[in-house]
C-alpha cells in the first residue's frame, strides 16, 4: 500500500468534493429561504460585541486626545498619524537600524472595567478577538497577549496587536505586532510582517522597552521569533519554505544579533543554554496545507556550538518540541513513519544522543524532568480521545494519569488538565508550585476552576509564569470571535 503523499492528498480533495455535493433542490430551498428572510433590523447586532469595545473605544479616544495634547506640547510628534496610538515603526529599505519616534503606548490610566464575553469566575485579564498568549517576561513581572481584531483581512500582516500587562493584570500598553518576545524584565522584541518598498513581504523585528515610545528596528528580514523562559531569543530569517533553500537564524544577546547560523530554530531550554533546531532535508512540500518540510534534529548551545546531532530523529518544521526543565532531554514528534500514517513521540537524551521512541503520540508536556504527559489521541474514535497518559523516563512505563484532552504543565508540578467543553481541573504534583500545594502536599488535586467556556485553541507552554504560580488561559466557544483571557493561580 505504497501511496505517495501527493496521491493521497489528491484523493482526499476529490473525495471531499464528491461528498460535498448537494442536491439542486437543497440549493433551491436555500434561495427560497433567502427570499423569505425577515426584515432587517438596522443596527441590531446578532453577534455579541462586548461592552468593552464601546467602553474601550471611548477610552482609546480619550487616550488619543491625551497623546495628541502631549505630543503637541512636546513638539516632536506632530506628524504621528492620528490612528496610530501604539508604537508604529516604519522600516527602512536599506534594512539599517531605524529608530522610530512614535506615539506612546496607550496608557490605561483610567482602564475601563473588563466586561467578559463569558461568565467567568476567574480574574479576567482582557476580553478580545482571537487571543493567544505571547509569554511572560523572564522575571515574571509582565506578560503579553496578542489579539487579532475581528473582521480584518486575514492575509493582512501587521494587524495583530500585542497587549502588555503587569503581573497584577494592570495594562502596560500595546504594540502592533504579530509576535512579541521578552528579552528581560522590561525589554522586548516584536515581529511585524510588512511590505518592503519593492512590494515583497517581509518580517521586521523591532526592539522596545516598557515605558518607552521608541522602537528600534533590527537589521534583517525575519519570519518568526523563538523565545524561551530565560529571555533567550532566536530570530528565524526569512525562508521560502523549501528544503533546497538553506535556513538561517540569529540569536539575540545583549540587544545585538549573532552571526547567522544554519538551521530552523524550534525550542529553547528553560535556562537558555540549549536550542533545538531542525535541518530541513525534504521532501519537497506537496501542495497540501498540511504537508510539511521535514528534517533532522540538532541541539546547539547558545553560542551556536553543536551539543548533539540526532540524524535519526526526524520531525517536521511546525512540530512541537519540549526540553525537560533541566534540559537533559528533548521530546519531539517523530516523522519517520509518516508514510504509514503513524506518528510517535520521541525523546532525545542530550548527553548521549540516544533517541527513544515511545510508540504513542499526542500533544505533550513535561510534568517534571523525568515524567512526560501526553494526550493519547491515537484513535479515530472521538470518545477515546480523552486519556492523559504519563511516561516515566526512569523505568519506561506508561500509565494512565488523568482524563482529558486539555493539557499543559509547567514542569514543576503545576498542570492544567481536563475535558474541553466543561470544567478544567487545576492540579499539581509538586511542592514548589502553588500555594495550595504546600497546604495539601503531593499529588493532590487542589481545586477546580470553572471557565466561562472551552479553552480556546490551545494552552501553549509559555502560558505559565516562570515561577509556575500563574497560568493564563484563553476561553472561547468557537462561535463568537471574542474570548476571555483569564488568570488562574
Amino acid at each position: 500500500m505504497n501511496r505517495s503523499s501527493d496521491d493521497f492528498e489528491a484523493a482526499v480533495g476529490t473525495t471531499l468534493a464528491e461528498l460535498a455535493r448537494v442536491d439542486r433542490s437543497t440549493v433551491a430551498e436555500t434561495h427560497a429561504f433567502i427570499a423569505a428572510l425577515p426584515d432587517r433590523h438596522p443596527g441590531r447586532a446578532l453577534l455579541r460585541w462586548p461592552d468593552r469595545w464601546s467602553a474601550g473605544l471611548a477610552a482609546a479616544v480619550v487616550g488619543l486626545v491625551a497623546v495628541a495634547v502631549v505630543a503637541s506640547a512636546l513638539g516632536g510628534l506632530n506628524n504621528a498619524p492620528a490612528a496610530s496610538a501604539t508604537p508604529s515603526p516604519q522600516p527602512t529599505a536599506s534594512g539599517e537600524p531605524n529608530v522610530v519616534p512614535s506615539s506612546p503606548p496607550i496608557v490605561f490610566a483610567t482602564a475601563s472595567p473588563v466586561v467578559p464575553a463569558f461568565n467567568e469566575t476567574l480574574p479576567v485579564v482582557m476580553t478580545g478577538a482571537n487571543l493567544w498568549m505571547q509569554g511572560w517576561s523572564p522575571d515574571g513581572s509582565s506578560f503579553a497577549i496578542a489579539e487579532q481584531p475581528p473582521d480584518t483581512p486575514p492575509s493582512t500582516r501587521g494587524i495583530p496587536v500585542v497587549h502588555l500587562f503587569k503581573r497584577d493584570m494592570t495594562p502596560e500598553g500595546t504594540v502592533d505586532a504579530s509576535q512579541l518576545a521578552w528579552t528581560d524584565a522590561t525589554h522586548f522584541v516584536a515581529l511585524r510582517y510588512e511590505s518592503s518598498s519593492d512590494g515583497t513581504a517581509g518580517g521586521h523585528v523591532y526592539a522596545g522597552r516598557i515605558g518607552s515610545v521608541q522602537l528600534t528596528q533590527l537589521p534583517g528580514n525575519f519570519q518568526r521569533l523563538v523565545s524561551g523562559p530565560s529571555g533567550a531569543v532566536a530570530l528565524m530569517q526569512w525562508w521560502d519554505g523549501t528544503p533546497e533553500t538553506p535556513t538561517h537564524y540569529v540569536v539575540l544577546s545583549g540587544g545585538a544579533e549573532s552571526d547567522a547560523r544554519d538551521g530552523y530554530p524550534v525550542a529553547w531550554s528553560r535556562d537558555g543554554s540549549l536550542l533545538a533546531i531542525i535541518h530541513p532535508t525534504g521532501p519537497p512540500p506537496p501542495r497540501g496545507v498540511g504537508s510539511q518540510v521535514t528534517g533532522w534534529i540538532e541541539v546547539v548551545g547558545s553560542a551556536g556550538q553543536s551539543v548533539v546531532k540526532a540524524s535519526s530523529a526526524n520531525t517536521w518544521i511546525s512540530s512541537e518540541m519540549a526540553f525537560t526543565p533541566d534540559g537533559s532531554r528533548l521530546a519531539f514528534q517523530d516523522d519517520t513513519h509518516a508514510a504509514d500514517g503513524r506518528d510517535e513521540i520521541g525523546v532525545l537524551t542530550v548527553a548521549t544522543g540516544q533517541v527513544q521512541m515511545l510508540g504513542h503520540f499526542g500533544p505533550m508536556t513535561w510534568l517534571n524532568s523525568y515524567q512526560l504527559l501526553y494526550v493519547d489521541t491515537w484513535s479515530s474514535i472521538p470518545s477515546e480521545n480523552v486519556k492523559v497518559m504519563v511516561w516515566s523516563d526512569t523505568d519506561g512505563t506508561f500509565s494512565s494519569y488523568s482524563t482529558g484532552n486539555v493539557l499543559t504543565a509547567n514542569g514543576w508540578g503545576g498542570m492544567v488538565v481536563g475535558m474541553n467543553g466543561g470544567d478544567v481541573n487545576l492540579g499539581t504534583t509538586g511542592p514548589t508550585n502553588l500555594t495550595l500545594v504546600r497546604q495539601n502536599g503531593w499529588g493532590i488535586v487542589v481545586g477546580t476552576v470553572a471557565l466561562g467556556n472551552e479553552v480556546f485553541g490551545e494552552i501553549p507552554g509559555d502560558s505559565w509564569s516562570p515561577d509556575g504560580q500563574m497560568v493564563v488561559l484563553v476561553v472561547g466557544d468557537g462561535q463568537s470571535p471574542f474570548q476571555d483571557a483569564v488568570l488562574a493561580q
Partner: protein
Amino acid sequence: MEAAIIDAAMDRPFEGDRQVSRELIERAVAGDRAAFDRLVEPYLAVALGAARLITGSEADAADAVQDALLHAWQGLDRLRDPALFPAWFRKIVIRSATRTVRGRRHLVELDLDIPAPPDSLDSEVDRRLLARAFGRLDRKDRVLLTLHHYWQMPVAESAQLLGLPEGTVRSRVHHALKRLRASYDAEVRR
C-alpha cells in the same frame, strides 16, 4: 512559543473570492433580499458542501447554512469593507455548521453516494473507503480538512477562524491528514 509561520505561497488573496460589489451590500443592508441573494450566490453551493462535510448530512447542512444566512443578513451592516464579505461569510458558515454538530458525541455517518471505482486497484485510493474513513474522524479534524482540502481556505484565514497560530494550523492539518490516512488504512484492512 508557537509562532506564525509565513509561507509566501499561501499569503495571497483567496482565488475563489470574487470582487464584491459595494452596491450589492448597500442594497442588502437596506433590506433588498434579491441583492442579498445575488451577494451570496457565488458562495452558496460551496458553503452547503462544506456544511455537509462537517455536519454529515444534507439536511443538517441546509439548516446550518440557513442559520448562517440569517446571521449574515442581520449583521451585514457591521461589515466595513465589501472585500471582507467572502471571508466573513465563510466564517459564519463554518461556525454555524460546527454549532450544529456541537455536543454530538456519536460518530456521524456520512451519506455515501460515491460510485464504486471501476476496478480494485492496489495503487489507487478507494474513495468509498476514504469517505467512510473521513466520516469516522472527529469534528475538529473534519473541520480542518474541510477548510483546507475542500474549501482551499488560506492558512491565515483558518488560523484566525480557529484562534490558532498559523504554524499550529499547518501542524493540525498535517495530523488530521495522518489520522485520516490511518483511519483509511483501518477501513482497507477490514
